[in-house]
Structure formats: structure tokens, C-alpha cells
Assembly symmetry: C2
Homo-oligomer: 652 residues x 2
């Protein structure tokens, strides 16, 4: 575990606890809503984020922006200074934003929703026991003798029954073929790898000798954009390594629709299958390398993906997924051999891949997995589960009932359709604060480098901050009358300059346009309307939601209050929010550890009702009503209403 420290900022004795060793002071301060000027995304090039170290140990780069005297006095750039102990820090007035920032901090406090660490995420679901659907069983068999000449196969099955209580065992034909040799090679000491199927146990691997102490699986979240994998220890119930790669299918289309179109070209389906198999192979390579586990000791794989990704992995024709009446090819796909997918996933030929059942064309196995991984399937609390990507999937329910929908949010939350939008990777602006007086932004980028664009959470932050600062009106238009050089008109369109060219990594200005704002509004309106429609379909209201789980890589950087400010999430108690990160991967992990969880996933898929939002008039009404910042009906957002009223009261 990384050590964690407490920072104390002056003036004001503002304490920020639980800061991991090596975190930059700038980032720690912003997480605590302590604003320090910064224009260059934390790359050290603007020199605005001067701080003074009063006590404690830090490591810091010498900057050309600081002279020798300043350095001697402990002046540092907050963005280039990393904490190595508890530290006390003074923020000079020159580095502070206008007083609006303090007002905001008081107003917004520390309420951020539960951002869980990996151990907490893996403990979200309890009540399962380590009993994998695929497992190794070791046993010493009794050799045949004159008085006991039961045949090898029946003897083996009897041993499985006597030792482990397994009934209805079938044996993969390759092992029937080699059984006589394998059983005798190590004097009837054998290791059987067994999968529990709907029709009994199937022996998929048989080894001479005893190998039960090394038993591993690979679980994956097959995202349209990113594929995540984990290597699990099936004996210990632990995660040994994690890795991710972009889905190589991106070369053939950014979203599922364009990939389905590509799949209909000659060899399209095969090409796409091979692309995802290549991606998985790279991940498996990295997992094996990181963990030191031998590839041959991997006995099982689990893959969670949306309906299209699952189809493409297994090689199912996805053509009709995008054609009315939007009929998926399959719900429950039987486990497939990993080596049979495309040119083969590079694991043992006995390794099967379990996929998650899908519910509808746009409610896939990834959502089913998320409902399992987040524990909603077993919770009595009425829960809202939101997985925000190109499609925002929304689920409401608990252990008794589940309804789900998919909202065509568009790619804005992934940086798509945004002039300087980009995926949440290095050099993407992920955090934005706008001073309410000067309208000057403070920015942080992923990797603390010069910004080259803005990712989903950065866009939400920027729009929320511009709205709070009065730069942006509730109908998404810039107030061009404000005295800021950052507000300008370019080729007839209004825009706000977030980063000036001299501080950007591209050498050009990075801006947010009214068109960007409009795209974001459409995206958030679709999700909000989807939630509203689902709620109304079961006669519930916001207040009835006892938990709100936000899933997706997106969620990691997202701040609830900013999402509420733009009207993406309802304004309910922040304590109800939990960020579960990659919920699909959590579910895949559980399913590999516990066959009860596999059954739970099947049960979730069966009980989940899909509510189709296309041609749904209630949805259309809610959507139109949500096309405002945060909403046409401000009673949904009392806090934002107060904020905006306060700003108006302060003279504008």
C-alpha cells in the first residue's frame, strides 16, 4: 500500500488528509477544492502555481520560473512538487484565485461520493465463497488389480465421485483418448481440470501428477474502446495483475455501429474477431509477465462485453443488432474454447471463455456483469446504476427487480464530437476550475503534462465551472459581454479559450465552443431523461433511490457535484453515490471465483427488463425538458438554483 500523508494549507489551516505519497501538491489541493492558479495543466510551464513549503519533506524540480532566492525560501511550483511526508504549505496571495473559489469550496465542501480503493471495490459483494466454475482437482486413484478391473474411464469418474462428490461427469474426448497413459504416468496421481456446466461436470484437462496449487484465470472487460484484463489466483481469491489495451478494433470504427457495418464487408467479421483476439493476447502476455504465472496454469477466462463486443469476440454475426426490431443473436452463449477464437487466444487448448448473457441489443453482458460486480443483484436497496460511455446504460432495481435502458448519449463523455475533445489519456485536461471573478481557469492534465485536449470529465468540469462563473448561460450560450480575453468569436461561433497556445502541448489554443456545450447538453439530457423515464415507469422518484453507483473508467475522474451542476445526475445526497470504476471487470472477477456468481449473472440477465427509449414519447418529453443547464425545472436542482441565484445576487 502506498503511504498516505496529511497536508495542511495556509492560510486557513485547511487540512487535506489521505494524500498518497508522490502526489503533486497542486493535484492534492484541487481535489480538496483549494484553488491554486495553473494554466498549463500541471506541466510546470506557466509558473503560476507558486507555493511555499513551511514544514515537511517534498521532492521538487528546479524550475526556470523560480530564482535562487525563491528556491532558498522554499518557494516551489505546486504542480512539480511531490509530497514525501506530512507537509505544511503556504499559498501566496498571488497564487490564489479570487474569493469566489473560497465561497465555492465552502458551498461544495468535501462531498465527493465514495471513491473506493481496489480492496474496497473487491469487497463490494460479500456472501460468496471461493468455488470457481472451473477448477483443478487433484487425487490419488486406486490402481486396478485382478479383483478390480473397472475400466479406466469409469474408475476415473468413480474417483471424482468418491473424492469430490462429483456426479454426471463427462470427459473431453482428447482425455478419453490419452487417459490410459495419463493415469499411469505418475502412478495414478492426477490433476483434473473440471468445468461445472448446466448438464453436469466436464473434464477439460487431465494431467499426470499434482498441480492444484497453481490455478489461475484471466478475466476481461471487453470495452468498445478499451479492454481491461486481470489475472486471478483461483486458490487464493486474489488479483495478481491488471493490464489494459485499446481495443484494436478501433481501426475499423470508433463505435459499435461502425464496427457492425465493417463486419458485413468481406472477411469483416473475421478481421474484427482477430483484432479483439490480438488485443486479448497482448493483455494476457502482460498479465503473465507481470505476475510470473505460467501461461499453462491459466485454466479459465471470463469476458464481459456489450452485446456487439461479445458477438464479435465469439464470432457471431452482429448484423441484425442495428436493424429494427433490434434482435440480438443470442442471450446465453455457451462457453467457447479460447484457442478456437480467431487464430486463437494463446492459452491452453482446454481453456474455455465464459461470456456474460446479454439482455437486449444495447443492454449487454457488461451491464449484467456490472450489476453482479457492484452487488446490486444481491442488494435490498433500490439502486441506480449508471455506466457512461458512448451509450449511457442505466439500470434501476435491486435483488427483486431490475429495469434497464440504454440512452444514445453520443460520444461527448468520451471526448467525441467536442472540438478539442480526446479520450482520457495522457495530456488530456481532466480537471478544470474557473475563477468566479477573473474567469481564469486552473487545469490539471492526466500525467501532469502540457494539455493537448480535453476529456469527458474535463468537459463536464469546464461547463459546470463556466456555468457557476456566469460565463455560460443555462441555455448553453456564452455571455460575450464579460470582460475576459478568453471569450471570443471565431468564424461566427462563440468560444472560451481554456488554454492559450503558449501553454498548450499542441502550440494552438484549446477552446470550448458553444457547439461543444450543445453536444454535452444533448448527451447529459439523454441520460437524465433515461433515468427519469425508468423511474417513472416504476412509479419511483429520485428520492426513492437508496444508492447510486457510477461505473466506467470515466467515473474515476468525475466529480459528482460537477455532474449535478450540469444536470447529468440528480441532486440527491452525495453519500448515496459510489464510484465502482470498472463494474464489468468486478463482475467478471466474481464469476471466475464463484460459480454461484455465474448463476447470479444468469439470473440477472433473466430478470432484467429492457425499456426501449426509441419511439418512447415519455422519454422524448423528458429529453427536451433536460436540454438546459442543469434543467428547465430547477426544482430538481435546488443547490444549483441557489448557486446561480447567489451569483445573480452578487451583481450580475
Amino acid at each position: 500500500m502506498t503511504e498516505r500523508y496529511t497536508l495542511t494549507f495556509q492560510p486557513g489551516d485547511v487540512v487535506v488528509a489521505d494524500v498518497p505519497r508522490g502526489e503533486s501538491v497542486l493535484r492534492a489541493a484541487m481535489q480538496a477544492d483549494l484553488h491554486i492558479n495553473a494554466s498549463c495543466g500541471g506541466s510546470g510551464s506557466c509558473g503560476k502555481c507558486r507555493i511555499q513549503i513551511i514544514a515537511g519533506e517534498v521532492e521538487s524540480e528546479r524550475s526556470s520560473k523560480l530564482d535562487d532566492d525563491e528556491w532558498a525560501e522554499g518557494i516551489r511550483l505546486a504542480c512539480r512538487t511531490r509530497v514525501l511526508s506530512d507537509v505544511e504549505i503556504f499559498i501566496p496571495e498571488t497564487s490564489r484565485m479570487g474569493n469566489a473559489a473560497v465561497l465555492e469550496r465552502e458551498l461544495r465542501g468535501e462531498r465527493k461520493g465514495r471513491l473506493l480503493n481496489p480492496a474496497e471495490l473487491e469487497s463490494l459483494v460479500t456472501g460468496w465463497t471461493l468455488d470457481p466454475v472451473v477448477k483443478k482437482l487433484c487425487m490419488q486413484m486406486t490402481p486396478p488389480s485382478e479383483g478390480d478391473n473397472l475400466n479406466d474411464l469409469a474408475r476415473f469418474k468413480k474417483a471424482l465421485k468418491d473424492n469430490f462428490g462429483l456426479a454426471k461427469v463427462s470427459v473431453d474426448s482428447v482425455w478419453i483418448r490419452n487417459m490410459p497413459h495419463v493415469l499411469r504416468e505418475h502412478d495414478w496421481q492426477v490433476t483434473a481440470t473440471v468445468v461445472d456446466t448446466s448438464y453436469g461436470y466436464k473434464v477439460i484437462e487431465l494431467e499426470s501428477g499434482s498441480y492444484c496449487d497453481r490455478d489461475f484465470s484471466v478475466v476481461m472487460d471487453i470495452g468498445t474502446t478499451t479492454v481491461w484484463g486481470q489475472l486471478l489466483d483461483l486458490n487464493q481469491g486474489t488479483t495478481l495483475a491488471q493490464a489494459s489495451r485499446y481495443n484494436k478494433q478501433i481501426s475499423y470504427g470508433d463505435d459499435v455501429i461502425s464496427r457492425i457495418v465493417f463486419s458485413q464487408k468481406p472477411n469483416g467479421r473475421e478481421t474484427l474477431q482477430q483484432a479483439i483476439v490480438d488485443t486479448i493476447n497482448e493483455i494476457v502476455d502482460e498479465l503473465v509477465q507481470k505476475s510470473g504465472v505460467e501461461r499453462e496454469q491459466i485454466t479459465h477466462m471470463v469476458a464481459a462485453g456489450n452485446t456487439t463486443m461479445t458477438c464479435m469476440l465469439v464470432g457471431i454475426d452482429p448484423k441484425y443488432l442495428r436493424m429494427a426490431p433490434y434482435v440480438p443473436p443470442a442471450d446465453f452463449i455457451p462457453p467457447v474454447r479460447a484457442v478456437n477464437l480467431g487464430a486463437g487466444i494463446k492459452v491452453g487448448r482446454h481453456v474455455h471463455v465464459h461470456t456474460f448473457p446479454s439482455v437486449a441489443s444495447y443492454i449487454g453482458g457488461d451491464i449484467v456483469s456490472g450489476i453482479v460486480g457492484s452487488g446490486i443483484f444481491d442488494s435490498e436497496q433500490i439502486t441506480l446504476y449508471i455506466d457512461i460511455g458512448t451509450n449511457g446504460e442505466v439500470v434501476i432495481g435491486n435483488r427483486e427487480w431490475l429495469i434497464a435502458t440504454s440512452c444514445s448519449a453520443g460520444p461527448a463523455f468520451e471526448g467525441g464530437g467536442i472540438k478539442h475533445g480526446m479520450r482520457a489519456t495522457d495530456a488530456a485536461i481532466e480537471t478544470v476550475r474557473i475563477d468566479g471573478v477573473t474567469y481564469e481557469p486552473t487545469l490539471l492534465t492526466i500525467g501532469d503534462t502540457k494539455p493537448i485536449g480535453i476529456c469527458g470529465s474535463g468537459i463536464i468540469d469546464a461547463v459546470a465551472e463556466l456555468l457557476r462563473a456566469g460565463v455560460l448561460s443555462q441555455n448553453g450560450k456564452f455571455d460575450m459581454s464579460l470582460p475576459s480575453p478568453r471569450l471570443r468569436e471565431t468564424e461566427g461561433a462563440n468560444e472560451f479559450v481554456l488554454v492559450e497556445a503558449e501553454f498548450s502541448g499542441t502550440g494552438d489554443d484549446i477552446v470550448i465552443t458553444e457547439a461543444d456545450v450543445d453536444n454535452l447538453v444533448r448527451a447529459k439530457a439523454a441520460i437524465f431523461a433515461g433515468i427519469m423515464t425508468l423511474l417513472e415507469s416504476v412509479a419511483l422518484d429520485w428520492a426513492d433511490l437508496e444508492q447510486i453507483y457510477v461505473a466506467g473508467g470515466f467515473g474515476k475522474h468525475l466529480r459528482i457535484e460537477q455532474a449535478q451542476a450540469i444536470g447529468l445526475f440528480p441532486q440527491v445526497d452525495m453519500d448515496k453515490f459510489t464510484f465502482v470504476g470498472n463494474g464489468s471487470l468486478l463482475g467478471a472477477r466474481l464469476v471466475s471465483f464463484s460459480k454461484d456468481m455465474l448463476k447470479a449473472a444468469e439470473q440477472v440477465a433473466r430478470m432484467m427488463t429492457n425499456v426501449d427509449m426509441s419511439d418512447n414519447q415519455m422519454f422524448m418529453d423528458r429529453y427536451v425538458a433536460a436540454m438546459f443547464l442543469p434543467h428547465t425545472d430547477m426544482t430538481y436542482f435546488p443547490e444549483m438554483e441557489a448557486t446561480l441565484a447567489a451569483r445573480a445576487g452578487r451583481g450580475r
Copy 2:
């Protein structure tokens, strides 16, 4: 059906009924125990079998042995004359054997056991309905619509349930992959090929359109020496074609032991598997060609074979079959894909091969199949089933219980270990009569050609006749004092010349030696002792046997009274004997037609108890006692005892 005629032989008004059109007069006469001289095996070269046609239509070759006058008088060679209507025939005195032949005929009468025609064989088992374990199901599915967007897979399963009542359906992954396309190609009209497994139904093939009217299977008896195949119409329950080939494994050893030895050499197992697959492919080629059925319309295969043959077909290591404690590798082998065997049986990739379960190393699926095919599994009558080949397998029981054993008979019944022995193919002597006065033989060969050797039934015939004629003593020695030039000593060993060089196809004499007789005696003693031991193990006697079924290609040419004469079979009522021919093939046929019969086969394998004759003192005692012609204890063979006593009384 071939027309059948009645022949009347003069003098004596001997009527022979039920002679098929085209049968030779010589063969018809010998079947009725009417002896006509013939030394050349029915090849037309000795000219001894002169007859005169009195009335009726025949077709006959002109022979150089007959002059114009004789031809004009209706004199013909019986071996070269084929019946085309009811015929009256006069046998001149010159063509008749000595009077002993008449005596014999009166004594032996018409009692031959039931020799069933194909239709009768196929009707041995009743009470099953045509309900194949693999079948095609055609249906018109309801397309999805806005209000009914069930996914393709679930829709397909629902249609199978609604139309055919099928529950627990799984679908081969290749068809899940292509299902969206296949379902829609012919407007949701589909043909599913479904196999009924122990865990539910599995869809192994899915076609657009309707093809249920053409549905065929290939069933096989995989013999160590010969492989038989039939092509069946699964809709009609009929046999469309039959074909056979020598098992190409013969190149690697004549018997199962030598093949198991070969299998342990480098690539031995693969070589043997490919040899049988090549054999099967030739048979399938011929079946397809003969029947006009398209290869793609074959949906199922069934293979019955002994334990070693089954192992080698499936590719199982047979090594331990021949090593104590003689443990078979498997009892119930799950169906395997035909294309996965060796380089592949040339049928559709969906075609599965069902094999029969084995009971022990030397009681294999062929015997299980024979018990099903002959109807013993469903009979209340206590039945003895004998399948005579290299190993004589013997089963006793009924629907309630079954015990079985395998007797190491050796290859004598297949012509092995016999000086001029050969397999039952063209030019093999299959029928022998010895005149009790002149000791002259009358011979028939398979194919009515000049003899080149003698097959199993011919050897039994020859030994029985030599015994009856007093040429051979009960301890298997020739009476060299008899006045016959056919009895001679060559290189210190006594022998009987069956065919003189001038009438043989090899240009050499064909003889039977005392060593040949000894080998035959050992073989028949092993089987007789096996039957005795089994009977005694269940406290039964010969008289308790209500039916005796003789299986094997061997059985077709065998005459019960001759087998009884040498002591192979007990002397019980001939009406109890039935020749079932290839019982394994009959069973394989039933199993392909009816899944109830497949279950019956599994049940037979489970209930059959193997009695091991190695190290069995009771068996050894019975074996030694049977090393005599017909037996040391003549009370078992009262008829032969009387025959031999009568001969002794006639004074030699």
C-alpha cells in the same frame, strides 16, 4: 424380392423348395443334402456333376465335357446350370455318390436352423419406433417484430419447444455464430439437425430451408478383419445400400494383439486410426454411389466394434487392453465428430459417430450391439449368443440378466493356422461332402470357381464329414489303413487330399492335415468349454437354452449339424438355432433408427457380466474334456454317438 422356385429331383421325388432364381442346381441339391459328384468346387472343370433336365426352364453354359448328343438330351453340368423356373431334374447314377449319402440324408433330414433373409433379420427386434437419436427437424419460425424482439437463439429454442416439445436445448457454437443469417435466409424456414444426448438436445447443424425429406445415416460393424457398412434412410426406417471392405489395419497385424503392439510404435496409434478411417471412407464412397444419396444428407454414424477396434477408431490408447489386469480404457465413449477421426471421415462436420459401450477388454461394443440387434436384450427366453471369429464371444441370458465371456479360439474358424486355410472369399471351399463308401469329396466354392483354399465352414464341413466317413478318428487322427489314394503321408505328417492339383485353382493339391484338425479341435474346444463354464456358473444346462443365436459372417455358410458333429455346438434341437449373420450391424442399424435402442445398448453393457476364462480352473477342465471329436463325454452328442456306432456296425 428374388423369385423362388421349387426343384424336384429324380429318382425319389425329392422336392427342394424356396430356391432363389439363378441358383445353381448343384448348390440347391447340396443345400438339400442331395449329393451330386463334384471335385472342382463347382467351377465346371471336372465334368462330374451331370444332370438331366426333365422339365422347366434353366440357363446353362455349354461345356466341353458334354457332347452334342448329351446336350440335345438335356444333359447339363449341375454346377453350371441356373434355375429360371420350377424345374424337374434327373440325377444319373454316374453322378450319384455311394449309398451312404442317402443314409446320411435320411439321418440328417432338413434340419438346418433358421437361416434368415435380410427382411427377417431386420425384423428380429420389434417394439421399437422410428425415432432416431439424430434427426432433422423442419420448422417455420415466427419472425421478430416490434412487439416481439426475443433474441435469435432464444427464439430458435422456443420454436423447437413449441413445435417439437424439445426442452434443454444447446446449440453448437458454429450455429450460434451463423444463426442470424441462417434464420433469415429463407424467411425463418429452417432445418435443425438435433442429437438427443444424456444432458438434453444438441443442435449440430442448422440449414436455411426445409430438408427433412432427406435424412440418412451410415452404420458400421468394424471387424478386426472386415468392415461392413449400411446406408439407412432415417425417414423410412429402411436399408438403402450395403458395402464391405477388408479392414486396412490388416497390413499392421492380423489380430488385435499384434495391432495393439503396433499401436505402441512411433505414430502407431495414428497410423492405425487412419487405416480404419480410410477403410470407412471407401465404404461410405460405395454406399453413397450405390444409393444415390448425397453425402451431405448423411446426418449420423454408428459404429460397432470390439474394444480394441473401437479404441483405435476413436484414437484411444489401447496399450493396457492386453496387459493384466486387462482394464479397458473406457466403457461409455461419448459421440465423436466423424471429421475429427484421423484425417477425417468424409461426411459433414456435424456428423457424430456413436460407438457402442464395451463391457471388458475382450467383450466389446460389437457383442453389445449383437445382443441388441438379435433381440436378446428384450427376450424372455434364455438365449445363447455365439459370435465366432478370432475370439469366440459367448453370451448367455435374456432381458433379465446377461453373462458373457471371450474364448481364445484362435483363428482356425477364419482359416488361420490351417495349411490351406483362407478367409471366406472367392474360390474358398465352403461346403464339403465326403462319400461314406468311396471317400470321394464333393465341394462347393464361394463364387463357384476352382478352389484355392478352404475357409472356416469348409474346414468344419470337411472334418465333420471325414469323421462321419470314418476317415478321421475321434482323437483327430486319420485312419491310414483305408483304401483311398487321398490319404497319404507327406514329410512324416498324415493328410487327406481334398482337391487334386488338376482341379485346383493353384495347380497344387489342397489338403487337410492332422495339424489342421488339431487346431480346429482346440478352437472348438475353447468355445464349447466357454459355453459350458458360463452355463455352469448360472447353474443351467444345455437343455435350459431356449434359443441359440449364431452370429458372424462365418455363420452364413455354417451348417449346424456339422458344427454339432465336431462338438462346437451342443446337440440341442435344431429349431432352437438361428443364424443372425452380422449381429453387430443389425444392432448398429437399430441404434441409428431408435434412440430407445441406444438406451437399450447402454443398458445391455451395464447389465452384462464378464466371466474371465483366464486362470479359470473350471474352464480349463471343460477345455481338456472337449479336446476330442466331438467330445470325450459322448452323452452330450447322442446323435453323433449313434452315427459313429452305425458306421462301426456297418463294419467299416
